[in-house]
């Protein structure tokens, strides 16, 4: 096969210039701090509170997406109904919509005078300017991940296995829990990991709905942004390294899940 040197060379050069070099600059910047200073920044109360807010909201958003994604994938693959193709297209909307627009729209919806806020707030459920709002914004921007990872796997499931289970007397629910879901789990987990990673880093959509109160509704990426604004570059670098580390962890998790999934896929004929 031709073109190995050319394509690999281009790929590596591009990655080095666009991705790796800037990341190295970040590490260099963070490396200019003493260990004690670094620790003081990344373990300060405001930083820790922002991790808690970000992780909590991202976890909730991922949980929402796991349920929603599975449901959507199921409905899109298993059923024929009018508007199915439209529904299929709508799933990609969050990818196409600028995150800032999404944030503004969600804020408009969930604020006290908004369409949803007007209904929810009298019930005592405040969404805008609370951690719940952050989770909703994160769920919106990462919604397609789970659907799009589960969908192809669900499409490829063999009907024979289900039929086998049915002939052995399994109910629909039992078939779903014990036959279908186990086969979907790797894709579902991979999708969730991707969605979770995206949630951790989300900025544009979140800052509009979050209220951005330090210690309460301030996400980590906003804290890094604020430190930049204050010219506290080392502190911004330190917080950015924490987020970078989180990104690497999520990437490793995704890869492990994928590797597992690939092994499974290769075993299947």
């Amino acid at each position: 096969m031709p073109g190995f040197g050319l394509t690999l060379g281009c790929t590596l050069t591009y990655l080095a210039l666009i991705v790796l070099l800037p990341l190295a600059a970040l590490l260099l910047k963070a490396g200019s701090m003493s260990l004690a200073d670094y620790w003081a920044v990344v373990s300060g109360p405001r930083a820790v509170a922002s991790y808690r807010v970000t992780l909590g909201a991202a976890a909730l958003a991922t949980a929402i997406n796991a349920v929603y994604g599975l449901l959507m994938a199921w409905v899109l693959v298993r059923y024929e109904f009018p508007g199915r193709r439209l529904l299929d297209a709508v799933v990609d909307l969050p990818f196409a919509l600028p995150t800032a627009v999404a944030g503004i729209a969600l804020t408009a919806l969930f604020a006290r005078q908004g369409w949803f806020g007007a209904v929810l707030e009298p019930l005592g459920l405040k969404v805008a300017y609370t951690p719940l709002g952050i989770a909703i914004a994160m769920a919106f921007t990462s919604a397609p991940f789970v659907v799009r990872t589960v969908q192809p796997v669900l499409e490829d499931l063999e009907a024979e296995v289900e039929e086998g289970a049915r002939s052995l007397g399994a109910s629909d629910l039992a078939i779903f829990w014990r036959v279908i879901l186990p086969q979907l789990t790797p894709a579902l987990l991979a999708g969730c990991a991707l969605a979770f990673a995206r949630c951790l880093g989300e900025f544009g959509a979140v800052i509009f709905i979050a209220g951005n109160q330090p210690l309460k509704t301030e996400i980590t990426s906003l804290l890094a942004f604020i430190r930049l604004e204050e010219f506290d570059y080392p502190a911004a670098a330190a917080i950015a390294t924490v987020m970078l580390a989180a990104a690497f962890v999520m990437l490793a998790v995704t890869n492990v899940i994928q590797a597992f999934y690939l092994r499974y896929a290769e075993r299947a004929p």
Partner: protein, 619 residues
């Protein structure tokens, strides 16, 4: 992973599969539709509803606004660069990864996907550290006369970073699934590399390529976080809801200037009505400026403040009335702006024009003081040298002034050294100092005659390596401790208090036990209203009054040691300054000394009146 095989054949389904029961089917479809409607479609509808709420006319006016058009052009230009590059990268990466087995192949794939999971803010940050004025290559590039940050290349670079995995990821998934049999067959039939690519590979992957291209384009258009960091042109998330009228105010102010000199009261209409609406140091919104970089995401963020104003809680009773005023003012001001644009421009031939931005909002008395300096320069220079003055935020945020002047984005800036205290603590010698045993006038004397000037030059030019010269003016009287919801009786009451100050005072107050937030003036009011801070000091009774401190805090505490002296720092880009003739340099320097006197007189007049007025009114 995100790849979808839309065309995956829906094979002749066997009689019945799990979940095919009519009830389950209906419930699940219904749930999916409702959830999609609520989660994904409603936000789109609300956007459309807002966009067209005023009918098609205002919508078209917004879309055709020069600022919007400029932003759209900038974005399309970015897409035009980013998309082809990432298409090529995606093809190369997918070919290398899926058609060959080599060591580190999985690692390479991971690297390609890396930007997916990196926060856009981190993406912007890393580029800032690479090309920013204090970055790895920044200083060297500046010497070569190349500016990357806060300019088009920066937007392209971060967009490349953020969108690089899209095409590659789509192609890798598909090409891995397809295998290389067809290409191998083509090779045995004697196809050349190019023929192979054009006639076998490309037709096979064209849909994935298209899908990747669409995702890449959408993300480039919509990217907000990363671009915010490197374009240096985004409003802080804590922007006061009333802020959009700032741009309008400024246009009005400019319109006034075009017609009749430098009268700051040209903005009078806005000033009176806008009392207490926020503002202060940093509330300025950017005016239309051909040099600013403002992709639609950011324009949108900015426009949305109006929406936000409506949806956010009305924190003060008068807010509704203010908003109505703002709407009226916006219309009037738009007319004024149109007039200003239509007016023939005064010839600028033979005139050196310096673009200066202040760190102050239009209503702040500090803005008047900056304008006094500008007026002195412009009158003394007799038309051969002219300073064009912009309020805070017109080009950059107040805290970014020094970088903007250093980078040559602006020629000059009017602010205080406390705003770059984060870069070097010695900045506090030139303002924001606690008691050194001298007052502000004596401090200025030290700067002029006691060696301060030389130390300042050394700090700015040698230590921080900035391309900046600066002068000082206006001995500010000792600053009050500030505005509190409940006046502190003892130093212990400061403990745990969320308090806004800047400069060395930030460290001092932290040592006292306060939780200090360093905010530009324009963000003080919203921060108070939302409980982000409990108390704050800004500077003086007049500035405080004008941005509405008395509306959010009851007690004004006077005596304090935290900031006994401060002066304005009037700075110029050194390259620009050095290029001027000697007499112009002298005018710029001596005008600072002249403004020193007039600023002080203005302060004494206003501060005392405002303070006794506050006392008389009881707040």
């Amino acid at each position: 992973v995100i790849a979808v095989e839309h065309d995956s054949a829906r094979r002749a389904a066997p009689a019945r599969r799990a979940g095919d029961g009519p009830v389950v089917r209906r419930v699940l479809i219904g749930a999916a539709l409702v959830l999609t409607l609520v989660l994904l479609v409603a936000p789109i509808l609300v956007i459309l509803a807002r966009a067209f709420s005023g009918g098609i006319g205002p919508y078209a006016a917004n879309v055709l606004h020069p600022e919007t058009l400029h932003a759209v052009r900038l974005t399309l230009l970015t897409v035009a660069v980013v998309l082809p590059v990432n298409l090529l990268f995606g093809l190369a990466a997918a070919w290398a990864i899926t058609r060959f087995r080599f060591r580190g192949r999985r690692l390479l794939l991971t690297l390609v996907e890396l930007p997916f999971s990196i926060s856009p803010i981190v993406a912007g940050t890393v580029y800032l550290f690479l090309y920013g004025s204090q970055g790895l290559f920044g200083p060297w590039l500046a010497e070569q006369g190349v500016r990357v940050m806060f300019s088009f290349p920066a937007i392209v670079l971060v967009s490349l970073f953020v969108t690089s995995p899209f095409v590659a990821r789509e192609l890798v998934t598909l090409m891995q699934a397809q295998g290389s049999e067809e290409e191998e067959a083509a090779l045995t039939l004697g196809a050349s590399g190019l023929q192979l690519f054009w006639r076998v590979t490309l037709p096979n992957v064209r849909w994935a390529l298209l899908y990747g291209a669409i995702l890449c384009t959408a993300r480039t258009i919509g990217e907000f976080g990363a671009v915010s960091v490197v374009s240096g042109n985004v409003r802080g998330p804590d922007q006061h809801p009333a802020a959009p009228d700032r741009a309008a105010l400024q246009r009005l102010q400019r319109a006034g200037r075009v017609r009749g000199g430098d009268d700051p009261d040209a903005a009078g209409a806005g000033d009176g009505g806008g009392q207490g609406v926020g503002g202060g140091e940093g509330a300025g919104m950017r005016d239309r400026n051909p040099f600013t970089l403002r992709p639609p995401g950011i324009v949108l963020a900015r426009r949305s403040r109006i929406t936000e104003a409506e949806t956010m809680v009305d924190t003060t009773g008068a807010a509704g009335a203010r908003r109505r005023f703002l709407k009226g003012a916006t219309v009037t001001v738009a007319g004024a702006a149109a007039g200003a644009v239509a007016m023939p421009n005064v010839s600028r031939a033979q005139t050196a024009v310096l673009k200066m931005q202040g760190a102050w909002g239009a209503k702040d008395v500090f803005n008047d003081m900056a304008l006094e300096y500008v007026e002195r320069v412009n009158k003394m220079a007799g038309g051969r040298l002219k300073i064009e003055y912009l309020i805070a935020g017109a080009v950059v945020k107040p805290f970014s002034l020094q970088d903007a002047v250093n980078d040559g984005v602006l020629d000059a800036g009017h602010h205080v050294t406390a705003y770059w205290y984060g870069k070097h603590k010695a900045a506090s010698f030139f303002g924001t100092s606690p008691c050194w045993g001298w007052n502000a006038a004596q401090g200025l004397a030290w700067i002029h005659k006691g060696g301060g000037k030389e130390l300042y030059r050394e700090l700015v030019q040698d230590v921080l390596k900035l391309n900046i010269v600066g002068f000082f003016a206006m001995p500010m009287p000792t600053q009050p401790l500030g505005w509190f919801k409940k006046a502190p009786a003892t130093p212990d009451d400061m403990r745990g208090l969320k308090y806004r100050t800047v400069g060395l005072a930030a460290d001092v107050m932290q040592a006292v036990g306060a939780r200090v937030a360093q905010l530009p003036g324009g963000e003080i009011l919203p921060a108070m209203e939302r409980g982000v801070i409990d108390a704050f000091e800004f500077n003086n009774p007049t500035s405080d009054r004008r941005f509405g401190a008395q509306d959010v805090a009851k007690s004004y505490v006077m005596s304090s040691y935290h900031q006994a002296t401060e002066f304005f720092e009037i700075m110029f880009n050194k390259t620009k300054f050095d290029s001027l003739p000697e007499e112009h340099k002298a005018i710029l320097e001596y005008a600072a000394e002249a403004a020193n006197t007039s600023n002080y007189a203005l302060a004494m007049d206003n501060y005392s009146n405002d303070l006794s007025g506050s006392r008389a009114r009881g707040r």
